[in-house]
Structure formats: structure tokens, C-alpha cells
């Protein structure tokens, strides 16, 4: 299982802040495709991914226990 966190506009779009998914052995890019199937309105978004609190590329492989976060364009400051 991996943990997936949603924030800000994405959280409002998915309707949940966190969920657990059975996705180990797949890449970040594959996770993105699965999530777009589950939440079609994600498709148009320019989302970055973080794995274990660090920005991750689509090729990064996910392992059980990983914590993934979908990072919409940031707007701090």
C-alpha cells in the first residue's frame, strides 16, 4: 500500500485529503495515469508529485509504504 495526499484545489476535486492505494511496483507516471482514470478532472492540471516529501520524476518507482503527494502549483508567500 502507498499513501496519497491531496492538497488545496486537488483536495477539493478528489473530495479527500488522503487515501491508501495498492500501487507498489508502479512508477509515479503510472500512478498519475491511474489517478486520472479515477478523477478525470485531474487531467488538465499541472501537478507535480512528491514521494516521501521530495519532488519525484515520472520514472520513479513506488514501493510499499511510500508516501506520495500531489502538488498543485504552489502559492505561498
Amino acid at each position: 500500500m502507498i499513501t496519497v495526499h491531496y492538497f488545496a484545489g486537488i483536495r477539493e476535486l478528489t473530495g479527500t485529503a488522503t487515501e491508501e492505494l495498492s500501487l507498489s511496483g508502479k512508477t509515479v507516471g503510472q500512478l498519475k495515469e491511474e489517478l486520472i482514470k479515477k478523477y478525470p478532472s485531474l487531467q488538465e492540471s499541472s501537478i507535480q508529485f512528491a514521494v516521501n516529501e521530495e519532488y519525484a520524476l515520472p520514472a520513479e518507482l513506488l514501493a510499499a509504504g511510500d508516501v506520495v503527494a500531489l502538488i498543485p502549483p504552489v502559492s505561498g508567500g
Binding site: 495526499h5 492538497f7 488545496a8 484545489g9 483536495r11 477539493e12 488538465e44 492540471s45 499541472s46 512528491a50 516529501e53 521530495e54 519532488y55 503527494a69 502538488i71 498543485p72 502549483p73 504552489v74 502559492s75 505561498g76 508567500g77
Partner: protein, 146 residues
């Protein structure tokens, strides 16, 4: 005091200025970003900030390391507040000390630019007739998340 933190209570900027002061420091710059009432002709009622807290604190610390690498002799502290903020409340404080003033200004401005690029914090503007999560206007048109 945590020099790179995301906090929910009001920011006391003096704490961060005090943290960076040392006998070698001739200059301290303290930047505070405040909730502004008017943005492009639209009146803000309040702002709601949300963060991916553990990653945001790591990224704030990374910005501090970047600065201390680019400008040796500086010391940096940064805090960002989350939750509901009213007009004039401090959303972010950046303190930089340096032997000389030029560096203290440059490094401080670098910090706020980097915060707006890499730190997972999000702002929602609440108006009288609606609300909107704000994306990074430098990278994409406004309203994408509407």
C-alpha cells in the same frame, strides 16, 4: 526556536531577526509578507493557507542551505503561517543576516522567490462573492484551479 517552520499561530518577526543576529553581522534584512486587502481591483476578505507541512519545512530549510551556499557568511530563518489570515496579518517572515548589506538584501529576495517556486504551500483568496485557490501566476494563467 525552529528556524524553518510552518506555524499556525501569529508570527512574531522579531524572533527570527534575533535568531540570525551574530557579532559578525553588520546587516539584517527582515521581510514580512502581509495579507493585502486589494489585488487587481478585487477586495480580499481573508486568506486561507494550507501546506504539506513536513515537506514545506524541508523545502524552507533547503532554501536556507541554498542561501548559505550562495552567500557564505549569511544566516537565515524563515517561517510561514497557515490557516485563516486576516488583512495585514503576516503570512511569511524571512530574516537574513550578513556581514554586509548588499548580500542581506539579495539573499532575502532570493528566499521569497524560491518560496514561491518550491515550497508546497497554497493560498485561497476568499472574497465577498466567491473564493479561489491561487496557482503560481509566473508559470500559468490565473484561474486554472477555479
Amino acid at each position: 526556536m525552529k528556524p524553518f517552520s510552518v506555524i499556525t499561530q501569529a508570527i512574531d518577526p522579531q524572533l527570527y531577526a534575533d535568531y540570525v543576529l551574530r557579532p559578525e553581522a553588520g546587516a539584517v534584512t527582515l521581510f514580512t509578507g502581509h495579507v493585502r486587502e486589494w489585488t487587481k481591483g478585487i477586495q480580499t476578505v481573508y486568506l486561507a493557507y494550507e501546506a504539506y507541512v513536513p515537506m514545506a519545512e524541508k523545502k524552507l530549510a533547503q532554501i536556507g542551505q541554498e542561501i548559505e551556499g550562495k552567500w557564505p557568511g549569511t544566516r537565515v530563518a524563515i517561517a510561514h503561517r497557515i490557516g485563516e489570515l486576516q488583512i495585514s496579518d503576516i503570512a511569511v517572515v524571512i530574516a537574513v543576516s550578513s556581514p554586509h548589506r548588499r548580500t542581506a538584501y539579495e539573499a532575502n529576495e532570493y528566499a521569497i522567490e524560491r518560496i514561491k517556486e518550491i515550497v508546497p504551500i497554497w493560498k485561497k483568496e476568499i472574497w465577498n462573492d466567491g473564493e479561489q485557490w491561487i496557482g503560481d501566476q509566473k508559470k500559468k494563467p490565473e484561474g486554472e484551479w477555479q
